[in-house]
């Protein structure tokens, strides 16, 4: 029996081991290389994706868990209008430095704004707290999310 799921709006039936990691499958078999592997243990958020509307670390998800689920990666989210706003505000504040954490940050920001369209700075910090960034000191990222919220970003 194969595993049915939806990836960025496309129905998939996937044949493989239920214990394989979503992260590996996304990168190797669906060329979703915007989903990055930073730590292998749910401690950095570089592999963030949206699973049934919720932010998750794809390194922490076995393929059996995605059975009948919907997954959105940066490759799907970047086609949305909400992405355009985050793209712009991230550019304006200089929130992207090395960029390795960025797709995960965007996904985490999208999940926050989806459930909380006008977050406080503290709520932004909390929402991004599983996404490590070693370059920026986070200030620019927090400002970018704040600006995006104020500009009506509604993922």
């Amino acid at each position: 029996m194969s595993i049915p799921f939806t990836l960025n709006g496309t129905p998939i039936t996937w044949d493989g081991s239920a214990t394989d990691r979503l992260l590996d499958v996304l990168r190797a078999e669906f060329t979703c290389t915007g989903v990055k592997c930073g730590c292998n243990e749910g401690e950095c958020g570089a592999c963030s994706v949206i699973l049934d509307g919720q932010l998750v670390n794809s390194c922490m998800v076995a393929m059996g868990r995605v059975w009948d689920s919907e997954i959105t990666t940066i490759e799907g989210f970047r086609e949305t209008e909400a992405f355009q706003i985050l793209d712009r505000t991230f550019a304006e504040t200089g929130a992207v430095q090395c960029g390795f954490c960025t797709p995960g940050m965007i996904i985490a920001a999208a999940c926050l704004l989806q459930r909380n369209p006008s977050p406080t700075a503290a709520e932004i910090r909390e929402a991004l707290s599983g996404n490590l960034c070693r370059c920026t000191g986070y200030n620019a990222i927090i400002s970018a999310v704040d600006r995006a919220a104020k500009e009506g970003c509604r993922p």
């Binding site: 749910g42 998750v56 670390n57 922490m60 868990r65 009948d68 909390e126 996404n131």
Partner: protein, 274 residues
């Protein structure tokens, strides 16, 4: 499906659990981090009985595969549990991680488990033949040693609806988020007519199992809050004699000092709250 089962009902899940060599998969956040990718997983996220929160007269019943996010968002969840859960890892982990998984992993650092101990929660376990209910303290037999048979699943966590009114919770972690507890404390109490009528404390991440000493908390029960200073040193000494923290990344000495500081603070808080 290769190496996995995704049952749709509890009956189906229990039948597979009895028939096959499987590892129950709640949120997967411990399993996946430990790189166990061999073997077969029993994915429980589609089982309705395991993924809902219900209430009856006696208990708030948390399905074992309720995620931390689900528990935090439920209106009936006690405040102390919400506070402890909101300090677990980070949002993405809380969206996956489950209360049953936190218990089943068997770690004394599990942040929700500390609260289950402090609240004297019970666990409902089932196999294909039936169920048994036991206090969480009895479920833990040692480090990573659980009273769970090969064919059993943790089905529900039962939180007594009658619980002390006030609490303090303190988690010592290395940072504000994504922190594994280095020490955690939960203390709950109730006061009626100026006397302590209930008191329950627990420490996490200091020994192989969560520390819960009702016989020591008993010292405080019935004592008028205004007279608390009279039993203060008795209580602290009794606690001190029983605490035996392990040496690890942080020392046993540090752990013990902090425990006693937090207990002192607990007593101060009880007094100042009145």
């Amino acid at each position: 499906m290769k190496n996995g089962f995704v049952p749709q009902t509890l009956t189906e899940a229990l039948a597979i659990r009895r028939r096959e060599q499987v590892t129950p998969y709640g949120g997967g956040t411990d399993l996946m981090a430990e790189h166990h990718r061999a073997g077969t997983y029993l994915f429980l996220h589609r089982v309705p009985e395991l993924t809902r929160i219900t209430e009856d007269d006696t208990y708030l019943r948390l399905g074992a595969c309720c995620t931390f996010t689900q528990v935090v968002n439920h209106p009936a969840t006690p405040a102390i549990l919400k506070e402890a859960i909101s300090r677990i890892a980070a949002p993405a982990i809380r969206n996956l991680g489950t209360v049953g998984g936190n218990i089943g992993n068997g770690s004394a650092k599990a942040d929700s488990v500390l609260i289950f101990f402090a609240l004297d929660a019970k666990l409902r376990l089932m196999n294909a033949d039936g169920e048994r209910i036991l206090p969480i303290r009895a479920f833990y037999k040692g480090r990573k040693e659980l009273d769970l048979a090969e064919d059993e699943l943790i089905v529900e966590v039962l939180l007594p609806r009658q619980m002390p009114e006030r609490y303090i919770y303190h988690k010592v972690g290395a940072r504000a988020a994504l922190a594994i507890s280095r020490l955690s404390f939960a203390g709950l109490w109730s006061v009626e007519d100026g006397k302590l009528t209930a008191c329950a404390t627990a420490f996490g991440a200091i020994e192989q199992m969560v520390v819960r000493l009702p016989e020591v908390d008993e010292i405080l029960i019935g004592v008028p809050v205004a007279q608390l200073h009279r039993v203060r040193s008795q209580y602290l000494q009794a606690y001190s004699a029983k605490l035996n923290p392990i040496d690890g990344r942080i020392s046993a000495l540090y752990r013990k000092s902090v425990c006693l500081n937090l207990l002192e603070d607990f007593l101060d808080q009880i007094q100042s709250a009145e």
